[in-house]
């Protein structure tokens, strides 16, 4: 590790020092409480801020991909667009359908946002900047992730209309069937690190050989695990190719059809925060958390790297949303159970082999060969009965 001058270490630990400085004003018995409250306030302020930024980024990015300008009316270059959206959703009238089950209808977005915010507790944002360094941090995150399905179901069922119930059923089925590959592909990183704690996983990836970091994504099983994790993460947060539950065309807006005003904004916030937390975990597990990509660059503060990687992940999500068409429900399920599950199980095997094979190129070749062979084979099995010839129009031509 190159010697980092005190200025940079202070910059790196600036938030931790700030927290300790504020804590010093309080009596001793109160300090841990104040520390955690500050951490919570920081997260609750930072991530919705990123959410506001992402809405602008998404609309401008999608616009640019479709050869048009994004919103540029509200504020210079459309920067104040989220403020406008926020005020609009706050002032919009909050209509609750007559037959809806008022209590559950109100609780659904609340449960979703609480569950998603809880997920941020175990996310290591910077060097010793994690809100709760739990021993089983990853398990906590997936447990909380599992409870978001319940809130989606509550929303769908309580609005008492067929479309939202259908959307909720589809969303829950999709999230459950993609949770299995999500967990299995993250078990790979846990297996090699030997601990469920997110901080230990990041530390295990923080070494450098030459100038290249020891990120898991640069190993064959790590790369396979990363792609599987990202695909499952997309499905888990109902985004881009997997946004069938909110299929505007046929399901109006899926499970949040009957929501308007602030509750709709809460769902919107919940979905985006879910995207950030799952992207954060993809970064923690496979992209070295807050580690610098090159040893030379490690003077830049750790939290800056985390947010830079989060920014790249968000841009990737937007890029995917601008490109890929929506998957049909059966293709979605087929893909999960026939491709993702076998691949992640095999990935576990390959990671085990990786751990017990001797160092050096031999294990690289073996692991990558196994994974590539499986990829091609499974791919052919999946594509067997699809005739992907040129599209023929019955009447057009």
């Amino acid at each position: 590790m190159t010697v980092i001058s005190p200025f940079w270490t202070n910059l790196d630990q600036i938030f931790v020092l700030l927290q300790q400085w504020i804590e010093s004003f309080f009596p001793l018995w109160l300090q841990p409480a104040v520390g955690s409250v500050l951490g919570v306030v920081a997260i609750v302020a930072a991530f919705p801020g990123i959410f506001a930024l992402t809405t602008v980024l998404e609309r401008k990015g999608l616009g640019r991909m479709q050869n048009r300008l994004g919103p540029n009316r509200v504020g210079p270059l459309g920067i104040l667009q989220p403020v406008a959206d926020g005020i609009k959703s706050l002032t919009k009238e909050d209509i609750v359908p007559l037959t809806a089950d008022a209590a559950v209808h109100f609780l659904a977005p609340v449960v979703l946002v609480i569950a998603v915010f809880l997920g941020f507790a175990v996310l290591p944002i910077g060097r010793n900047m994690v809100l709760a360094n739990l021993d089983a941090g990853l398990l906590f995150f997936f447990a909380i992730g599992a409870s978001t399905e319940l809130s989606i179901f509550m929303a769908g069922w309580s609005s008492r209309n067929k479309y939202s119930l259908l959307g909720a059923m589809r969303a829950v089925a999709q999230m459950i069937s993609y949770e299995v590959p999500l967990l299995l592909s993250s078990v790979v990183a846990v297996m090699i690190t030997g601990s469920l704690s997110t901080v230990k996983i990041v530390e295990a990836q923080s070494g450098f050989t030459g100038i290249f970091p020891h990120w898991y994504v640069f190993t064959p099983w790590g790369f396979a695990g990363f792609t599987l994790f990202v695909i499952a993460a997309l499905a888990e947060t109902n985004r881009s190719p997997f946004d069938l539950p909110e299929g505007e065309s046929e399901l109006v807006a899926g499970y949040f059809t009957e929501y308007s005003g602030f509750k709709f904004a809460l769902f919107f916030l919940g979905e985006y925060l879910g995207m950030f937390s799952i992207a954060g975990f993809a970064i923690t597990l496979f992209l070295g958390g807050w580690g610098a990509p090159l040893s030379v660059l490690s003077f830049i503060p750790s939290w800056a790297w985390f947010f830079a990687k989060l920014f790249c992940a968000i841009c990737f999500f937007i890029w995917l949303r601008g490109t890929l068409p929506r998957l049909r429900q059966d293709q979605l399920m087929n893909f999960a159970w026939k491709f993702m599950l076998p691949m992640s199980l095999l990935n576990l095997l390959v990671a085990a082999a990786w751990r017990f094979l001797p160092e050096g190129p031999s294990r690289w070749v073996v692991c990558s060969a196994v994974l590539l062979a499986a990829y091609v084979l499974l791919g052919r099995v999946l594509m067997r009965h699809q005739h992907l010839g040129a599209r023929s129009y019955r009447y057009a031509d």
Binding site: R64, N67, W319, G379
Partner: protein
């Protein structure tokens, strides 16, 4: 191979994304209030009545030059029935000087009008044409969108400005018709004069063979 298509697609959108920053002509958005594209030749929004006279003529001059003779064909033909005409009791001379009825009241409810241009096609007197003015938003939903005769009357020059080719054809046709009518009037006048001269030269003689057939 599974996933090839995805990568090609991603490449395509990335090219678009990068391209939109580099080459400006990719972005086709027109910032409407600030930038405007010229309306194409045959855009049509809501009808207006044509009058032959100066652009800034006053009410009386507008009425005098008005081509409409209140024949109510357009009122009957209009599918959404948004034209309302009340005939005038007296007559006024039209562009060839022949006394014609004119519309005492000619209302078009443009909130009902669907710009189908049928009134223009059926009008035998080229009196009603389609305007290209579309920024007509008002606060009053009923009165504000009910245009009366004076509001509808626009000069022929305006017509030339918005539909140049079509206006030219119409003017040519009107001029030719006017010439034909005048020729006939002149011929009729000559025949009348000749008959008057013949009658005065030989009143006692029996009516001679009819004079030469006046110009067809």
């Amino acid at each position: 191979m599974l996933g090839e298509g995805i990568l090609k697609g991603l490449g395509e959108t990335a090219k678009n994304f990068a391209g939109s920053f580099v080459s400006k002509e990719r972005l086709t958005t027109v910032q409407y209030p600030e930038e405007r594209i010229a309306p194409i030749e045959n855009t049509r929004d809501f009808p207006f009545l044509v009058y032959d006279g100066a652009e800034d003529a006053d009410e009386a001059a507008k009425l005098a030059g008005l081509r409409c003779v209140a024949c109510q064909i357009c009122e009957k033909e209009c599918p959404p029935k948004c034209i309302y005409i009340v005939k005038s009791t007296d007559k006024k001379p039209d562009y060839v000087g022949k006394p014609q009825i004119y519309p005492a009241r000619f209302d078009i409810d443009i909130s009902v009008c669907m710009s189908c241009q049928i009134c223009v096609e059926v009008c035998p007197f080229e009196a009603i044409k389609m305007d290209t003015e579309f920024e007509l938003s008002t606060t009053d939903r009923f009165g504000g969108l009910l245009f009366d005769r004076d509001h509808l009357a626009r000069s022929n020059q305006h017509y030339h400005k918005i539909h140049p080719t079509e206006a030219a054809e119409v003017d040519a046709r009107l001029a030719e018709e006017k010439a034909k009518v005048e020729a006939k009037a002149k011929a009729a006048a000559e025949a009348a004069a000749a008959k008057a001269a013949a009658a005065s030269a030989a009143p006692p003689v029996v009516k001679p063979a009819p004079a030469k057939e006046p110009g067809a």
